[in-house]
Symmetry: C2
Subunit: 284 residues, 2 copies
Amino acid sequence: MHIYIKKAKYSGYCFGVSRAIKLAEDILKKNHGKKTKIFTLGPIIHNPGVTNKLEKKGLISVENLEEIIPGSIFIIRSHGMPPLLVNEIKKKNIKIIDATCPFVKKAQARAKDLSKNGYFVAIVGNRDHPEVIGIKSHVLNKNYVIIEDEANAGKITIKEKIGVVVQTTQPMEKLCLITGKLLEKTKELIVFNTICNTTRRRQSSTKKLANSVDMMIVVGGRNSANTKHLVEISKKCSALTYHIENYKEIKSQWFNNIKKVGISGGASTPVEDIIDVEEAIKKL
Amino acid sequence: MHIYIKKAKYSGYCFGVSRAIKLAEDILKKNHGKKTKIFTLGPIIHNPGVTNKLEKKGLISVENLEEIIPGSIFIIRSHGMPPLLVNEIKKKNIKIIDATCPFVKKAQARAKDLSKNGYFVAIVGNRDHPEVIGIKSHVLNKNYVIIEDEANAGKITIKEKIGVVVQTTQPMEKLCLITGKLLEKTKELIVFNTICNTTRRRQSSTKKLANSVDMMIVVGGRNSANTKHLVEISKKCSALTYHIENYKEIKSQWFNNIKKVGISGGASTPVEDIIDVEEAIKKL
């Protein structure tokens, strides 16, 4: 087969993911050979390949607070956490290392400030995503709503003033549509566009690439919100889009009659994973 | 001819227009027989029929500041005025009566506050409209742009924070589209939706009516921004829309093959003008 392969201009780790992985690797190295255990609640980033490697180095990812052993070290995942939960962990005489992405921290602070200033806070994002769960827990008096789509926005009652914050990995188009709907619900609307620049750049470079190829392969965790958005964006441009976690999932029959392939990756996708995919296609 | 006629649920004078006319009539009455002259700069409201009547009662509408005689009375038009201009007039020992619509005053105050708080002010409206000229003059340090459409919004450079105010008679759809574009230009966007409720109600009742008839007649000044918006809205729903200033413009040939006619009027259209149109159609 003779296939032309092009990679998206922007893909691979974002700042927040790199920082979280570095913090984890540093503490794992420092702790090597010691008895102290190192925990996270849920995966530190949304990429199974990477988290598996960290687990092998000693990072223990648990699902329940109770599993965290007193006297151990605890890393707050890149998506952030509710402060109440962090306080619970602190009570156990645990050393906390905060790997929350600084851009997520900003969204949390904006949500808190807005509620402090009397705004009803609209959080644009996925209800079940850890980042959104963290952001909402910073709003005072539970004066918030989570908005997943335009329909959600249409349902809220008239408010005196509404303040918007956004999950850092949401698509811009969605924010625009939701903002339009919210304008009908208030006389005063403030939007803190907390979508991070990395996300925006990745989305636009994926869009550009998808418009110039026959098929797109988006590499990244199936639990990664930003990777899933890249898949959505790509599907809107190009008919054929595959979302894979690693090169092993590639099937040769995908490439029948395909001349140009684009590869893109999420903010939690290692650059090596993208190179592996490229190499695997070349070998077909 | 047998024509079914339906009037829009909301039409005729809005609060600001009624108030301005009442203020003018009261002072004209009080001043009756006296030598003191009463001026406005430009028409007090955008309806030639109404302003002609006020002129006959003694209201002098001039185009230049120089024409205003010292010692006279001056009425600030419903659309408001730049404070610098009002100060110039005050210097001539002139009594000022402020007929600025309270909702326009609010938009002016919002624009001032936004610029005071470091926001770049985006005024959504028509560049040449007196209301917009008034609003922009309240912005400090000329830190503003006037946005007439999405394309204007697309052209502005990235700003740290943008504050939006809106000409009170603009269509909601336009504000939504422009807000979407502005979200790409800043991380912090505050929108004071200063479109007045009357405007919104009139727009939605005109839309509803236009969708249920064969032809629409929109009554109001050709210089009236809100009337022109009603015409635009109606044209988007129904193929046939006529904008007239009064019943005398009606032509019988418009009604060939027409079964249902809707009548709507702007915020500066007297209810009598709408009734006159209804009667004229009945007589065809």
